[in-house]
């Protein structure tokens, strides 16, 4: 089944506690090259048949209105896979 992938990240100027904790853990284990870590969501919407333009438009709509919270998150990418 083809999928629409929606990627959501915490807004760049807000704290991402999860990313911070993971960055610290990486640094403790010697991975200093990864200076900063941010963690967001990867959401797969499975669509049966073809992904139409209308599906994509609708995915965009729900990505902005429901799958992400515009006050603290950004939708950084929407694309079709498979």
């Amino acid at each position: 089944m083809p999928k629409i992938i929606v990627e959501v990240m915490p807004k760049a100027d807000l704290l991402d506690p999860q990313g911070k904790a993971v960055a610290n853990a990486l640094h403790r284990s010697g991975n200093e090259r990864f200076e900063n870590v941010r963690i967001g969501k990867r959401i797969e919407l499975h669509v049966s048949g073809e992904v139409t333009e209308a599906d994509l438009a609708q995915a965009k709509l729900v990505a902005e209105s429901f799958l992400s919270n515009g006050v603290i998150e950004d939708v950084v990418n929407i694309h079709v896979e498979g």
Partner: protein, 231 residues
């Protein structure tokens, strides 16, 4: 007998676990996550909480702590280890127990007095129970849904490695109603509910006879004391 209680950053129930161990007659030693030294303890409790905020996956960052290296080694050598809630998650992330724990099916954190059935009494932490005994201890978690592949589940069931099952209500969508597991040797036990919150009359779950009087959790700690004496 010395029981070590580990504190990671974000551990919450370490003082409760220490109190429970003391009530069972143990001497309690605090173990610090950054220290590989286990201070010659006879058993270890990995208590509940939100180690490292439960960020990434609960228990995942804690499983990387220096103290865990020593605990994994000692557990493989037979040291009794009990993982409660977040401690269970750490055991799973350390691969001392199989499977994984994910977000509760209903998506919410849940705190309730939970009925369990004791499925296995041949472990260091459950030998004071009777097989099939029904006990009530508090449960509180947001990510307590136990999952594993069908293969793993089959093996767990076949080898009798399920230590506790949820009764009456499965609070988090765990597969096969699994509340807790043991390893093959029986020295490592992990469970989502909190025995250390049912050890002192007045502060435990309600029972039919009196409010907050449930002390079913104390047997975990008296079990390990007995196992250690007999060892």
């Amino acid at each position: 007998m010395k029981i070590g209680v580990v504190t990671f950053p974000g551990t919450l129930d370490d003082r409760d676990a220490a109190r429970a161990a003391r009530l069972a007659g143990a001497e309690v030693v605090s173990l610090w996550h950054a220290d590989t030294n286990l201070h010659k303890v006879d058993a270890v409790v990995l208590p509940g909480g939100f180690s490292y905020g439960d960020y990434l996956r609960c228990g995942a960052i804690a499983a990387q702590a220096p103290v865990m290296e020593s605990i994994i080694k000692a557990a493989n050598g037979g040291l009794p280890v009990l993982g409660i809630c977040n401690g269970f998650q750490v055991l799973v992330e350390s691969h001392l127990l199989p499977g994984g724990l994910i977000r509760n099916e209903h998506q919410n954190f849940i705190c309730r007095d939970q009925k369990l059935r004791v499925e296995n009494v041949d472990t260091a932490w459950t030998n004071e129970f009777e097989l099939g005994q029904e006990i009530t201890i508090p449960l509180k978690n947001g990510e307590g849904g136990y999952i594993a592949t069908q293969e793993t589940l089959k093996q767990l069931e076949g080898d009798g490695l399920i230590a506790f099952r949820y009764l009456e209500l499965n609070p988090n969508g765990s597969m096969n109603d699994i509340a807790g597991l043991r390893n093959a040797r029986g020295n490592v036990v992990g469970l989502m509910p909190h025995p250390e919150h049912a050890v002192e009359p007045g502060f435990g779950p309600d029972t039919a006879t009196a409010m907050r009087s449930g002390v079913d959790g104390l047997k975990f700690f008296t079990s390990v004391m007995k196992a250690l004496v007999n060892a």
